[in-house]
Subunit: 307 residues, 4 copies
Amino acid sequence: MNNIDFQTCIEEILNETRGLIGKGRVADYIPALAEVDPNQVGIAVQTLDGQTFQAGDALVPFSIQSISKVFVFSMVFRAWGDRLWSRMGREPSGNSFNSLVQLEHENGIPRNPFINAGALVSTDCLLSISKNPLKDILSYVRGLAGNSKISYDSVVANSERETGYRNAALVNFMKSFGNIENDVEAVLNAYFHQCGLMMSCVDLARAFSFLANGGINPLNGEQILTQSQAKRVNAMMQTCGLYNESGEFAFCTGLPGKSGVGGGIVAVVPKMFSICVWSPELNRHGNSLVGMKALELFTTRTGISIF
Amino acid sequence: MNNIDFQTCIEEILNETRGLIGKGRVADYIPALAEVDPNQVGIAVQTLDGQTFQAGDALVPFSIQSISKVFVFSMVFRAWGDRLWSRMGREPSGNSFNSLVQLEHENGIPRNPFINAGALVSTDCLLSISKNPLKDILSYVRGLAGNSKISYDSVVANSERETGYRNAALVNFMKSFGNIENDVEAVLNAYFHQCGLMMSCVDLARAFSFLANGGINPLNGEQILTQSQAKRVNAMMQTCGLYNESGEFAFCTGLPGKSGVGGGIVAVVPKMFSICVWSPELNRHGNSLVGMKALELFTTRTGISIF
Amino acid sequence: MNNIDFQTCIEEILNETRGLIGKGRVADYIPALAEVDPNQVGIAVQTLDGQTFQAGDALVPFSIQSISKVFVFSMVFRAWGDRLWSRMGREPSGNSFNSLVQLEHENGIPRNPFINAGALVSTDCLLSISKNPLKDILSYVRGLAGNSKISYDSVVANSERETGYRNAALVNFMKSFGNIENDVEAVLNAYFHQCGLMMSCVDLARAFSFLANGGINPLNGEQILTQSQAKRVNAMMQTCGLYNESGEFAFCTGLPGKSGVGGGIVAVVPKMFSICVWSPELNRHGNSLVGMKALELFTTRTGISIF
Amino acid sequence: MNNIDFQTCIEEILNETRGLIGKGRVADYIPALAEVDPNQVGIAVQTLDGQTFQAGDALVPFSIQSISKVFVFSMVFRAWGDRLWSRMGREPSGNSFNSLVQLEHENGIPRNPFINAGALVSTDCLLSISKNPLKDILSYVRGLAGNSKISYDSVVANSERETGYRNAALVNFMKSFGNIENDVEAVLNAYFHQCGLMMSCVDLARAFSFLANGGINPLNGEQILTQSQAKRVNAMMQTCGLYNESGEFAFCTGLPGKSGVGGGIVAVVPKMFSICVWSPELNRHGNSLVGMKALELFTTRTGISIF
């Protein structure tokens, strides 16, 4: 790894993939996302020995959306341990088209923590143990990223709630099976706020580096998860992290990762580094067009793979 | 890795997991499988530097069943290349309960090569390029394992056909969508024969070692797949190799693997070794009860993981 | 028909079917329903020439639950006419287990007005044209039944809301497809109130008699629906009126009808009469155990059938 | 009824609906159907007092396809009685898109006898009691229609088998659940032959008249089914006779009926008459475009309805 010139590599990839801009579509279901300038690309790499490499718009905060599922899951995994698995599974969910029928078939137990239904259960689990979940989430991600300026975009959170009828359907549906303990609106509020967290590529690469480091935050030595738990979060990101493109992402990059409709994708190379790419335009599966390509090129050029 | 005493490790695990025998169920849908003595456990490890470690019944040939999906897929992946992806996907399939509705929803294209529908398409692809597919499969696996005595159990193959109405339904259904080129009975015949291949733990550990070795058979230096293809087969085994327990297996062992209802499970540790555990009794998901536990213990004790 | 001695017939049937009490289960998802005395059976027949026959507890008001779907649908069918069919279908829904996947597959358009999703859309349609929907529904059913004392049981309505997460899921889900115009809570409130209407067998037999009479209320000559519309409501009750037992009910009685989990079933014999049976215990499909049997006996004995 | 001038009525309707020709599509999955001249329309009415009214191409034999499901079901209903209901249900099947998942969910038991899966089970039931099922079917329909010249179109039957992979999938799938007793190919052969029966509108109107007549063939007084059984067949045609347009057909005509992709639709008015319309072009649901409209006009003009 020492031989890899990360800086040159990410700059080259950024230049090559920038040409894809215009061929995807920015998420437009809420104004706050639709208005993001699509001509932005950022890449950041955080190595376990503390180096940060960055290119392009790597310091611009963006809406992390579903990437937040990993943070909230990690919070409750630490607190609840294996009791969590009575509330959610750890199997890939297959095609999104049948997510509801699966939820019905399996009595309101989501297949894994990285689909919306699963993240809503994680959020419910957090509400059951936290007096101020919004404050706790914020302090958790600030600590992970070493950046006390990270905050929620309330405009995004409120817009999400106004159009978030499908998520409201999911929470109500799971509550009808007894798999939501707290008030429906409280769960939705915490969920939409976590989706509205604003973080940059550098923030996210740093915040995920504990997963490359056996559960210990390499920035400050704090134990976030046990080694076994960190390994298991990676395994779940590998099989379930990119919705209906989880197999495709594993196939093309061979890395565990997590994406969000804000255009960010974070991936982890165990024992080496974490990497985040961001560009707002999405492919038809809802993953960043530039991000998918950039990470495929990155693993191909560096020869880095877990397989 | 050099520090790991594989021999002691697999012997200990074999002794500890043997106690699970009696708590699972041998596959009983055909007599030839139902009659297998359940009191058998075998483990074999094949390292890339050519060492073979074995314990218990590691030399007893058993019916490899779905493990054969990896062999036939590898044969056609090499020959067809990326043209294969118009015939099948590479996403996890989610719950088995909806396999048929997914096939219908996706116009007869199976989600991945490691579910039955996908393996039937692989077989059909092989029939389109091979004059004698049964002979070709046999010579392929004999070469991989370095064992010219590997053969089909025709009793198993014929029994499978007699009760294999669900697989016959799948082939007919896919053919109604135009995704089967060859004669239905010919596809089924080749499919049931490959399922009836008899191989031991040692055979399978050796036959999978090219996947740990960047596509090159370490026994004889032959290039079986390109490095990129081998990596991709591993990625697909990781996300799709154990049916509805793929997530569970990734979660517990962190390794790419493939199981069969004959009680075998093979797993790959890239750049290090391949390992096969066999014991006929299955858990409720159709995977070897002892095999799942043994591989979980193995990764925990050795600390080996790709994550 | 004149030859049928309705009074003797319904008394005999009541005595014979009373023995089924104890073999079903009262709906228990809300206390207000669970506390109903199960030892009650009522039958009422309302002929088009104005005669009312009654037996047993035919004057005891009970919670009409899903029977209300016919009333609210009739209100909006009159007002909206065939524009309604862009908001809902008129096909049987098949098995309840896949109601949500069908709703997803068909972009939030319920299959017919007599499943919950369809009734929620009817309610939404009513809210779009009524300033005081609860008052309007009440005055509509009072007029149909000729009984100004009919009222809502608010305890039932409020209990329903407190546990009605599945219906909340349906409304949110349909709203995510744009098929709900009004506020989610307002729709749910009106829906749960209509389910909580308290009416007796005599009330319901009278209130359905316009459907036996070509759309005209025989009690006062008022045109409720056109002849064509009344015929079509009957056709939909025939194919969709008893959830997953619609076929069974048509098979056994040959009549259009509608049931509710309060234990009531109303059926219509066009050009002749309407009949309501009530007994609180339900079979496993959620229909009154005594009611199903009583109506089967009634059609067998009288030889009355539309077929 | 005596006042209805059937002859004038059906001639007028034939002239008015002929204009729809060119707006539908002839079934084209096998050449024998695709080559039928689309410019044909026939209507026949058979009254219980023995009169036959006909217009247009009412004497031209056509491929009755799924209409045959009613004949074979009636044969086995008579022989098996209520034992049949352990092999199939009598509920509408909902959307065709999920036919296979329903079959899986319900362990290989088709929802009703008038979907393909159900008719394949009826055929299997016939094979279990008949030494020469093809001969028996032929003699049955010849007797019902009073026409000894009715025969199979073997070209159609053979073409169907060659392309009938979806039906082959259904039989194999149900056999995997143990719900097919006989050989898969024998069931398919008998099924495709019955679909290839060639009958005219007059033949079909006559052959269905026992269902309008309480189970007794009005042509010769023979008891085909009991009164109760005939009523029940009508009830099932009402709820399940036109696939995914069963509700629509009931809504528009209010009659029990059965359609086939050859372009025929037969309907029954209990105690009065049976009617058959034929025109080869189909709507998007696979029902005759002219036939649906003609029957709607017929019931509207004559005011005939069971509701």
